[in-house]
């Protein structure tokens, strides 16, 4: 037992290296706590260490593995089978950095994800792909590690997987330039009403007289009126389902670029459920690009376009659907949900907004015909049905959109 402090300190160090939040205080606490229990009881020993050294659910899941590996103890019965596999592989391969790196990322979860992915995960679009890429790098670990990751991710968000969707930095500059042009080029019919406007052309006599009182009746400053230019507001709905994997990143990048240059943008993602991500899109810190944290039902799952769109109309419609709203939907129209919802939602969108744009990446295939049931139902309500993959295409798109009143 005299070696116990050394063991505990070594174990803490091992955990710390793997991303656990452990400081000197925790080591001390562990030793104090161990004094108060019966250490021959393995279960209690395990629980005490787990309670003190873990600080989130993800860490708890990874902790067990490290614990049994470190103390070379037999694992409990209820232990998921894949952890055993993981341990076996761990023993065979000794230290393998890829796995440790992966665990660290999983364990630290959302807290670190943005930073870690920005730095280390260039070009990886989503954790699914990341796991896949990792599995490809290390063939033998493929199955069990993938399972472990999914399991951990699934546990993280209650019953649903928490995923991340980073904004890709490639071609970002030209995308931003396009977004600027896009915003500028959306044609809006101007109101005929005159109102106070610094750049106006018509003199506002009454206001000028009144202002002249400040300068002793001498009209030094003119007050002008003119037509105010009305600007469009945008609602972007991004289908994040698995079938959209290749395209959704581009669309999100466009959404980010748009949000950077105008405040009248609301961004949503949906897969089987709708989620507003406007705040997250604008949240990139320290000059880094934002990484969206979404759930499996909003990203990377199946598609329920109808349900998602009608929940948008229900929840956000009254506030966001106005006469100057341009609704942009990016989806392949492969709906697995109830089609009747889609029809209603699309008719409402058309009625209450000023333009409905549907970007379907499948249109880039030469012989694609919109014959999927969902797409068919939606078509009559769409003003512009096209695809836009490159910054240039988005720029062109603006010219097609004209706001009807």
């Amino acid at each position: 037992m005299s070696h116990l402090p050394e063991y505990v300190v070594a174990f803490c160090r091992c955990l710390r290296q793997n991303g656990f939040l452990i400081g000197f205080k925790e080591e001390e606490d562990t030793l104090v706590a161990l004094q108060s229990i019966d250490m021959s009881n393995q279960e209690q020993f395990h629980l005490v260490l787990k309670t003190i050294l873990c600080s989130s659910k993800e860490e708890q899941a990874v902790f067990d593995q490290w614990f049994y590996q470190f103390f070379k103890l037999e694992q409990e019965r209820e232990d998921p089978a894949f952890l055993k596999d993981l341990r076996k592989e761990g023993k065979q391969a000794g230290q393998h950095p890829v796995k440790a790196d992966q665990e660290r990322q999983t364990a630290r979860g959302q807290r670190e994800k943005a930073a870690a992915r920005q730095g280390g995960g260039k070009g990886r679009e989503s954790p699914g792909e990341e796991a896949a890429a990792l599995a490809a790098e290390k063939e033998p670990v493929k199955d069990s590690l993938g399972k472990a990751l999914n399991w951990l991710a699934a546990r993280a968000g209650g019953n649903q997987a928490q995923l991340t969707a980073p904004i890709s930095p490639s071609q970002l500059e030209s995308m931003e330039a396009s977004a600027k042009v896009f915003i500028k080029n959306i044609e809006i019919k101007q109101s005929r009403r005159l109102s106070i406007n610094k750049k106006g052309t018509v003199l506002h006599g009454r206001r000028t007289m009144r202002r002249s009182l400040q300068t002793g009746g001498l009209p030094i400053k003119r007050v002008l009126t003119g037509r105010t230019k009305e600007k469009a507001s945008f609602v972007l709905l991004c289908d994040g389902s698995r079938s959209m994997e290749a395209y959704r990143g581009k669309f999100l990048q466009f959404a980010y670029a748009l949000a950077k240059h105008t405040r009248r943008v609301e961004v949503f993602t949906f897969s089987t459920r709708l989620r507003k991500v406007t705040e997250q899109i604008g949240e990139g810190r320290d000059g880094k690009l934002p990484t969206l944290i979404v759930q499996g039902s909003e990203w990377g799952g199946g598609t329920r376009i109808g349900e998602s769109l009608s929940s948008f109309v229900d929840q956000y419609g009254p506030r966001l659907l106005r006469r100057d709203t341009v609704v942009m939907i990016a989806s392949d129209g492969l709906d697995t949900g109830d089609i009747s919802h889609l029809q209603w939602a699309m008719s409402e969108l058309k009625r209450r907004s000023s333009a409905v744009v549907w970007l379907n990446p499948l249109l880039s295939m030469p012989d694609y015909k919109p014959e999927a049931q969902g797409m068919k139902k939606a078509l009559p309500y769409i003003d512009i049905f096209t695809e836009a993959q490159s910054p240039e295409a988005f720029r062109q798109l603006a010219k097609q959109i004209s706001i009807r009143r």
Partner: protein, 294 residues
Amino acid sequence: MRFINTGMTSIEEVFRQNGYITDRPIVTALHLVRTLQKPLLIEGPAGVGKTEIAKVLAQSLNTRFIRLQCYEGLDAANALYEWNYAKQILHIQMTENSGSSLSEKEASIFSEPFLLSRPLLQALREEDASPVLLIDEVDRADEEFEAFLLEALAEYQITIPELGTIKAKHRPYVILTSNRTRELSDALRRRCLYQWVDYPDFEKETAILQARLPGIDKQLADQIARLMKEVRSMPLSKVPGVAESIDWAEALIHMHQKELNKEAIYETLGCFIKDKEDWETVSREIEEGTLLNL
């Protein structure tokens, strides 16, 4: 065993008496709260009995239970202390002609009778024994409040400029709960012991139902627990917790149902399904018979 002798069994026993079925991890965590005097952060989905843990802990220790419910916009004034402005103004008006000096007046209005203690201060000023301080749903409070909380929990003392520093005579046992609607800061996590509470498994849920509702039929409890397990595996937007199963069981008892059938479930669906879409999903499952074929 030493572990048992340090009051662990007593905690477990009182928990059982209060109808709270607990397991080893929670008992261990509470034991550590007492030995290490560190706050305990409990996370888990809604309705799994996180708050209840703190309540029962207070009962088992036979001390006062103080609760601080967090919400968006909660600030120090509502969590710590506040001066009773209305009373102070009244006091000034009433003593206007008493002839006392300015400093006397000041001293009198900034004294104990004019201080409104909020939960945190109450917990620190407890005279007799360590109270249990529950900081409920800490994820709902703003990040600024979290930082303030850290400061208060680090030293267990608070300085009120007009009165001086108040140091806790007995360190309160602090339990924080979170539903994970927002990620808590690393600093707070590090300061706390951590426990994740999940939905109970089938056996535990049956035991909970029986402990909470002594009159319940064993068969009914079994059926409810099994059906709940199924329901929780469905893609619902609001997954029912243990609180809902207890409510539901109670409703069924009042309806004199000895076992579950289609009609009974339909009539009482509102006890555990609280969302229109979920309602449709569950009733579809019932209609198809997948839920009842247990």
